[in-house]
Amino acid sequence: AQSVAQPEDQVNVAEGNPLTVKCTYSVSGNPYLFWYVQYPNRGLQFLLKYITGDNLVKGSYGFEAEFNKSQTSFHLKKPSALVSDSALYFCAHLKYSSASKIIFGSGTRLSIRP
């Protein structure tokens, strides 16, 4: 079955350190992959997407993600974490069926300590 997996429920990072939120995919063909962020009591916000082209995708708020075909990964990264980055992060993929739909991973809670 096509899916994305987020192996970590929680990631803790000190402010100023680099952060990585992991995502692996199991998608046939060319995957369309996304990252979204959810702040407390808010809806999800789009961060970035990979469709094709450059494997390094830059997004909002200084985040980037690297598409790695050999490792079937699409990890989210930021060189220097801010306390305000603390939120729930979702990896997602586009699933093709009778109608295309975006399917979300289980989410990773990112906590940045001052």
Binding site: N41, R42, G43, L44, K49, A99, I102, S106
Partner: protein, 113 residues
């Protein structure tokens, strides 16, 4: 101006009641969605409409009935509410189906007692 707005934000009701959640988007998008987020934060797509036409209907109990009077509105009506319906329901929209970006509303937290 809020791009995707949902009402009500909070809804507390008794089992067996019928309730509705409304959603409106002012982005001119063609496609609208309902997602359900459970207490463990899992997000699951429920329905999608493209230009008032139902295009996605996941395995959702038929107590849930979406209605799209026009492409800017997508409402969700739930009959005979059950405890397990307690969740946050998110409306979203996108320009088209496929790899377009979803814009989400702030969510409607439904609590069934």
């Amino acid at each position: 101006d809020t791009a995707v707005s949902q009402t009500p934000k909070y809804l507390v009701t008794q089992m067996g009641n019928d309730k509705s959640i409304k959603c409106e988007q002012n982005l001119g998008h063609d496609t609208m969605y309902w997602y359900k987020q459970d207490s463990k934060k899992f997000l699951k797509i429920m329905f999608s409409y493209n230009n008032k036409e139902l295009i996605i209907n996941e395995t959702v109990p038929n107590r849930f009935s979406p209605k799209s009077p026009d492409k800017a509105h997508l409402n969700l009506h739930i009959n005979s509410l059950e405890l397990g319906d307690s969740a946050v329901y998110f409306c979203a929209s996108s320009q088209e189906t496929g790899a377009n970006v979803l814009t989400f509303g702030a969510g409607s937290r439904l609590t069934v007692l």
